[in-house]
Amino acid sequence: MSMPRILEVRTRILKANDETARSMRREFERAGVLVVNVVSSPGSGKTSLLKETLTRLAARGEAVAAVVGDLETDNDARRLAESGVPVRQINTHGLCHLEADMVAKHLTGWDLTGLQYLFIENVGNLVCPTSWDLGESLRVALLAVTEGEDKPLKYPGLFNTADVAVITKTDLACACEFDRDAALAAIEAVRPGMPVLETSAKTGAGLDAWLELLGQRRRSLTGG
């Protein structure tokens, strides 16, 4: 009669994803590429912010590319490609988040020599992307003024994993009776000390500060 045996495993469940992500991060950081993972709920302005970001960085002569995750369609890739920079679409066909190997697969055979910034627009979802490291050096969580100031309190896991929060669509703040102090307090409660930027992709407000932050983070990778 055999007896059950206990195996103490004590391993991260997402170990395989973490290892892929870690090796991607190492390669990108060595090459001086700032990889930015943009997460938020659907409709909070990821694509609009990124389109402006890609356009403005490219106009400054920076080498930029983007991958965008959606369940279906390449609509967002086409919108982002209007900026003139290389863009690839990842269709997850039902999966609610991106995983490191999906990103890696979509980067193969893509000549990104000299790249300075790679943006990953995650699937719009405030829960599922939380634990999936994509090899990014910067995770940015968006909160649109149209969403309700307490979103970070409702989805603390995701906001807690972010390095920077960006409040988007500030041009609509007045119409939405957006309570800025409440939003800032909610972000602070979930991730004390996290930098918060306020932007409007439509008017351009706050975008200089956003680009400045990206530039600083990239320079810190290369030790410049």
């Binding site: 055999s2 007896m3 059950p4 045996r5 206990i6 195996l7 103490e8 495993v9 004590r10 391993t11 991260r12 469940i13 997402l14 170990k15 395989a16 994803n17 999966l95 609610c96 988040h97 995983e99 829960v127 599922c128 992307p129 939380t130 634990s131 999936w132 970070p152 309190l153 989805y155 603390p156 896991g157 995701l158 807690n160 602070e188 409660a189 979930v190 991730r191 004390p192 000390g193 996290m194």
Partner: protein
């Protein structure tokens, strides 16, 4: 429903460990899930039951240890457990702290395996 992706990773990992020990069946799996990990235990349980069919975990009992959030409080100079997820602030003195010490785990803690008997 990222719990299904997580369940599949649990199965992959558990099978690798079980086979490394000579195979057999996994009779119990213990996971440690931090409350900040954005994983819903009931959904994970359902997902694992579905995904385990036809694997070494088909008959396995799932134990989920939910881990409350603990932060380092610089004010009190000690680790403190939080009653909930937010705010990330010391319940005793109110000092904010993002220095999370527990509560973001997503770990395969242990397996109980029944190794197939080798005939003498």
């Amino acid at each position: 429903m990222h719990e299904l992706s997580i369940a599949m990773r649990v199965i992959d990992l558990a099978e690798v460990h079980c086979r490394a020990e000579g195979g057999g069946q996994v009779v119990a799996v213990t996971l440690r899930i931090g409350r900040l990990a954005a994983v819903e235990p009931h959904a994970l349980r359902t997902a694992l039951a579905m995904a385990a069919v036809g694997t070494l975990l088909e008959e396995a009992t799932l134990r989920i240890v939910e881990v409350p959030v603990a932060i380092w409080c610089p004010g009190c100079e000690r680790e403190v457990d939080l009653p909930g997820l937010v705010p990330l602030a010391c319940p005793a003195c109110g000092t904010r702290s993002g220095d999370i010490r527990r509560g973001d785990e997503l770990d395969l803690e242990s397996l109980e395996i029944m190794v197939a008997e080798v005939p003498a």
